[in-house]
């Protein structure tokens, strides 16, 4: 009797161990990306051209991307994180250098200045190929004219988010880097500040804002843009591309647009880029994938679908000239503005920011 019990336990073990064998014969490319950040038609096209299967997974934040990679449940071939995460991953030796000889389309394209900064970075430039770039800014609902006035006032910009004297319904980003970054920029410090006094000031600013008696303040993710557009929020911290995405959606449904995007003079530029993590089992195919999106036609089609600013200047020109895009509206680097790029400042810094955001939330 005991014996048959032990055999049963063993049988269940064996059953589980056996079930890990996958099935599909097609070559697979595992891609980890943000939501709505790549034209699915192009993925289909890539699949047919190369007779492979692209397994495409979406995440909501850079940190989630990092955890997914480290969990090792899936061996990703391609990821598209932001600059500071690339910095971090490269410091942790989790990325493979790009083999430029496999990227035949690279010669055909020129990157924008800001993207070049990243691409030519001594520390981690060899691991990435830029994808899109943009600013962090504020999306606001135009039905309340006071919001626009407040944003454009001397004391406006990012400070409007934290102003306890207005009755706006505000939303911040559920990400330490962005929200604390906005607070730092409001206070006139660098987004890359690692100064405890400065960070303390930022913490106080957010904490005070959360306790405000007028209006309301909450945290959210990429879904905040929808609420601003609808009028459930007066203003929210967003990425520049969010605005265009909403514009497209509203135009498709022929609904009146009552929202706009505001990029403060001092803000940070984000750049997302292709990287090949060291979990990749199929680096050749991963390079083919990157090369595919460096093709001018593909890149244009993709940029049109995604709505963010393309890093390739040829594509930018095509978008503005042929597709009729009004990029002036949120061109990341207009004359006379001050822009910063997030840097990775070590896990201690990341932990510090995390603690600050958690602390203000429970206070």
């Amino acid at each position: 009797m005991r014996k048959s019990l032990i055999i049963s336990v063993l049988a269940v073990f064996v059953l589980f161990s056996l079930s890990l064998v996958g099935c599909s014969s097609k070559e697979k490319l595992y891609v980890l990306n943000w939501g709505k950040y790549m034209n699915p038609d192009l993925i289909d096209k890539f699949e047919t051209e190369n007779n492979v299967k692209v397994v495409y997974e979406e995440v909501g934040s850079n940190e989630e991307m990092e955890i997914k990679l480290k969990q090792g449940i899936t061996d990703y071939d391609i990821m598209i994180p932001s600059e500071y995460m690339i910095d971090k991953l490269s410091q942790e030796d989790l990325l493979l250098p790009i083999n430029y000889s496999l990227l035949t389309n690279l010669e055909e394209v020129d990157f924008f200045e800001d993207a070049k900064v990243l691409y030519e970075n001594e520390d981690f430039g060899q691991y990435l190929i830029p994808y899109f770039f943009g600013t962090v800014g504020i999306m606001y609902n135009t039905s309340n004219p006071n919001v626009k006035t407040a944003l454009e006032s001397d004391n406006g910009g990012f400070c409007t988010l934290f102003d306890v004297n207005n009755d706006f319904r505000v939303a911040l980003y559920d990400s330490p880097r962005d929200t604390i970054g906005a607070a730092l920029m409001c206070l006139g410090y660098s987004v890359n500040s690692n100064n405890d006094a400065e960070l303390g000031e930022a913490e106080d600013l957010i904490e005070a804002a959360l306790a405000k008696s007028l209006g309301s303040i909450r945290f959210g993710q990429d879904d905040l843009k929808g609420d601003v557009a609808k009028g459930n929020l007066d203003l929210a911290l967003v990425y520049s591309g969010d605005y265009f995405e909403m514009v497209f959606e509203y135009e498709a449904e022929e609904t009146d647009i009552e929202f706009d995007y505001f990029a403060p003079n001092h803000t940070n530029i984000w750049i997302d880029a292709f990287v090949i993590p060291n979990t990749s089992k199929n680096t050749d195919l991963a390079h083919k994938f990157i090369n595919f999106f460096l093709d001018l036609d593909n890149a244009a089609e993709n940029a049109d679908w995604v709505g963010y600013t393309p890093v390739i200047s040829e594509v930018y020109n095509v978008m503005v000239n042929d597709y009729g895009y009004d990029y002036d509206h949120y061109y990341p680097q207009p004359e006379g503005s001050s822009r910063e790029v997030f840097m990775y400042l070590g896990s201690e810094h990341a932990q510090k920011l995390n603690t600050i955001l958690n602390a203000v939330r429970i206070s």
């Binding site: 073990f13 589980f16 161990s17 079930s19 890990l20 064998v21 996958g22 595992y30 943000w34 939501g35 709505k36 397994v55 495409y56 997974e57 979406e58 909501g60 449940i73 899936t74 993710q221 990429d222 879904d223 843009k225 929808g226 557009a229 609808k230 995405e245 959606e249 509203y250 449904e253 609904t255 009146d256």
Partner: protein
Amino acid sequence: MKKNIYGSSLQVFLTAFTFLIVYLPILVIILISIHGSQYNYDSFKLTFKWYREIINDQQLVDAIIVTLQIAVLATTISTMLGTTFAIGIHSLKKKNRVRMMVLNNVPVVNPDIVTGIMLFIIFRFFRMTFGFPTMLLAHIFFALPFVILSVLPKLKQLDSNLFDAALDLGATKFQAIVRVIIPSIKVGMIAGALIAFTMSIDDFIISYFMKQGEFHNVSTLIYSRLAKRQISSNVFAYNSLVVVLTIGMMILFNSLNQTQKKVRG
């Protein structure tokens, strides 16, 4: 006996409250699914375009198929296994049976998130590929105890000699179970299967820990979309469809039952 009027009117009020609070989200879902605009609520515009939009949303269609596949497979397997295990548990002596049932009921009481983590840990430990197989195993796991719980009372009601009678008449143990015990506990098995199906279709939390990559069931798909954008109205349309179908089926079964009772007198 005098009827306590206050008592019963309070009960009616609370029952009405219950239906209101439980059905309010359902009504909102249905309303959204037939309203023409996803952004503008100034005036009502009746439309059924969101219902057509269900099939244009390939991701959603895939997720619906996955949900149904998992639900059907998990229901079938857990009903078969659960019945077998219930028969085994029933044959135990009282003390061991109680011990076994305590173990059986742990997953029933365990919060889904902890069950999810436990399964996540063990599947990870075995280096299993997350996706269809793990989600199926997980659904079988949480459905099994419910099947056992609904089959066991039916077994207790059986004449204790039924199994022996079948053996006596020349049936092997297997034949006795298949030809005598199972037909006699059919009702419990159907109830168990229904619970298993409902739970599988509705599950979000445990599935959330079992998914991987683009592999989604409806719940995890919607949740993953939530963080990124507004949920488009075709999801509400799909959900309304499920609710309307369920209510329809229930009323149909109920009236069938009524007529059957009448015929039998």
